[in-house]
Symmetry: C2
Subunit: 440 residues, 2 copies
């Protein structure tokens, strides 16, 4: 049986997870693909750093160049994270014509196109299944399973930390700060938590999925992102009464057909907390689990569900890429499925202000007749229809909540109207607004 030598850079949580999975199932993997993958060297930050699974000392080095540049190393995993040294590692390996397997979504977000070009120039490839939703083979599904589909819409719960927090808030009626602290204690949230809860992690992943689905590279700067700090237990409760659940969604959605004049299809790419129907299969995704709902023009509606992160789920994705890379080397077809392929269908990312959606609005208003009329007047002037109003019972005092469901309206118009409403003297706190996604 052919043997291929793997050089690993990064032996921390994910790296040691990959090493462990290869020890555990390497024989099975070899039998399934007809190639044995042998770990030759592992570059780590410090030989004695603590790691979830042990790696024999004789394999360890602290010099990544010793791994990447070793002529006996046929392929390289980059599992160090970050965008500086990681970039050097990946570029060095590609320049040597060695395929690279990475889980680094931040690196892809920042430097994807350069890395893809580098891989092409040196006749090798870059594999990154583990960069988005480790336990869900979503990149393989988009690129291979749905290769015959136009992806009409994709909605992803792609950040486990946010989904854990929102699930706990909804279940326990607990506040954001309290749940976040608990999540940090339990290891479900980082300290500081900003990358997750402000939506940037989801933004990176959504950008990668959008780019693969539509064949143009969509950088983070084109993706509107809003995190979950603004979600309160009140919002979850009122949403639930209305038949909705609030989830942080990565959204990639065609907004219509190709424009008759320029031939471009308008596309929404964004990340924000949204109300989705509670009976929808996506609403049932609880805790740290991830899920991606995909609508293809041929396949119809599909959903993929699994653990998004964690050393083992991510290791599973790395092993899948290792198998593909090994087969590509074995059969001399390293560019069989290039890391990224531009597509002929032209899409245009629509500025968020132009995106039309329904809205859930929660206002804190003084409890006095005539208040609703003043608020309704502002929406009326902006041409925004109100679908329903709820003045929930059981709230007494000077300030009470007022919930409005708005009809479809352009995002910019809603934003401006809420700005004006927030300045009304009868409104006592900044308006809270979430978009409503019917997922139809």
């Amino acid at each position: 049986m052919d043997v291929l030598n793997l050089g690993m850079v990064g032996g921390g949580t994910v790296g040691s997870g990959v090493f462990h999975a290869l020890q555990q199932n390497g024989e099975l993997l070899a039998c399934r693909i007809g190639v044995r993958i042998q770990v030759r060297k592992v570059a780590v930050k410090a030989v004695d750093e603590p790691r979830p699974y042990p790696i024999p000392r004789r394999l360890l080095t602290t010099d990544w160049r010793q791994v990447v540049e070793d002529p006996e190393v046929h392929m390289v995993t980059e599992l160090v994270g970050g965008t500086t040294v990681a970039r050097q590692i990946v570029e060095t390996a590609l320049r040597l014509g060695k395929p690279v397997i990475t889980a680094n979504k931040a690196l892809l977000s920042a430097h994807g196109p350069e890395l893809f070009r580098k891989a092409e120039r040196h006749g090798t490839n870059l594999y990154f299944e583990a960069s988005v939703c480790g336990g869900i083979p979503i990149i393989k599904a988009l690129r291979e399973g749905f290769v015959g589909n136009r992806i009409r819409a994709l909605y992803g719960i792609v950040n486990g930390t946010c989904n854990y927090i929102l699930t706990r808030m909804a279940r326990d009626r607990a506040g954001f700060d309290a749940v976040l602290k608990e999540a940090q204690r339990e290891g479900y949230a980082e300290t500081p938590p900003d990358l997750d809860i402000d939506g940037h992690d989801a933004q990176h992943k959504t950008g990668i999925l959008a780019s693969l689905a539509h064949g143009i590279w969509i950088p983070p700067s084109k993706i509107r992102v809003e995190g979950i700090r603004s979600v309160s237990p009140l919002d979850l409760e009122f949403a639930s009464q209305l038949g909705y659940t609030i989830k942080l969604l990565g959204i990639v959605k065609e907004l219509g057909s190709a424009d008759a004049t320029d031939g471009e299809t308008p596309l929404q790419v964004s990340v924000y907390p949204a109300l989705i129907p509670s009976r929808h299969v996506l609403a049932g995704v609880q805790g740290v689990f991830n899920a991606v709902f995909v609508r293809g023009d041929v396949v119809g509606e599909t959903l993929f569900y699994g653990q998004g992160a964690g050393k083992d789920a991510t290791a599973s994705a790395v092993l899948s890429d290792l198998a593909d890379a090994a087969l590509d080397l074995r059969f001399g077809s390293p560019r069989r499925r290039p890391a990224f392929v531009r597509q002929p269908n032209r899409v245009r990312v629509v500025p968020m202000d132009e995106v039309v959606s329904r809205s859930f609005v929660r206002l804190s208003v003084v409890d006095r007749p005539g208040v609703l009329a003043r608020i309704a007047a502002v929406f009326g002037q902006a041409g925004i229809g109100i679908a329903s109003v709820i003045q929930p019972e059981g709230h007494t005092g000077e300030i009470v909540p007022l919930i409005l469901m708005l009809h479809e309206a352009p995002d910019g118009a809603v934003r401006r109207a809420l700005g004006r409403i927030g300045r009304l003297p009868v409104v006592k706190a900044p308006p809270v607004r979430f978009r409503v996604e019917s997922l139809d």
Copy 2:
């Protein structure tokens, strides 16, 4: 760009769906994989038969040999169904060294190993993503996405007709016969419906998934199958009160570790309606949708959801296989991922009588003191523990329902005890029993 000629055998529902999808997205597909797939000829039963999508007359022939044996045809789709002519078609193409893409689960169930050997002998390959859950790339997920995993358990809702009937029965509290008739009127069930509702379609699919996951070919004869005819609205109602939903499941489950003496891992492979926890993500799969829940030893819990059948969902799977077959031809690696690979881990399919599970039992008993004692005595003698008993209110008359939840017990013991209970004079109808799957 390379061009490959496709010969299609079968131009009915699925065949014309594939033709249509290639017309619609052929350009996009070509761009994504770097190969253009051109339909050269389509063999049909009758040129003028009605089909959901039109196929130009100049491509049609009624002689499949003209398609398969055409030296300009590089690859073949077999979309005629059945196991006689279909077998000839597939074997002829393989003998000519042409890769075959099929959606034919019955053919694979009956003759899989011979066809795999034939493909190997002639240096070509057989692709069958469309044979199981068309809209779900589950075969690719098992073979590629989870290539680094041992599949500890797999639970599939793999028959849309049964899931539609059970969903409607639960929602509308309607009887099996009435819902089946309606499903037939609406085109969700065939006439006769036996292949679906007696579980044989699910048996074929479960066998294919089990075989791929465990690397031994598991023929239908080794798979215990029970259909959904025995499910009544009463069972769905009582199950629901207990926090369960009834689904027809294909089950592939390791029952323990490898045996110390013979090294074989005991494996359950079966199809039956089972109670699953209503809060489980699998319980939320409604109507004609399919879903497969997979637990891998590395990846953890995952779920794949989509349409199981229908011309378009199935076409999407065929296009995915066509892309793989085209790339394999383009890069001269037709055996890159053989249709079936034997694995070193040895498994032994356990006879159903030895499988241990919990049970839900519904009896129709005379409403008289002492009845429960007589029933409990039979279970007690058999060493089967009773977890709970419900004598639901609101049932009056001579005969009333009695629900028992049984502790874990071997299937054979439960079967024999129920046989004895069914012969008690106080029991007035054959006992109804469903297994309870916690999916843990």
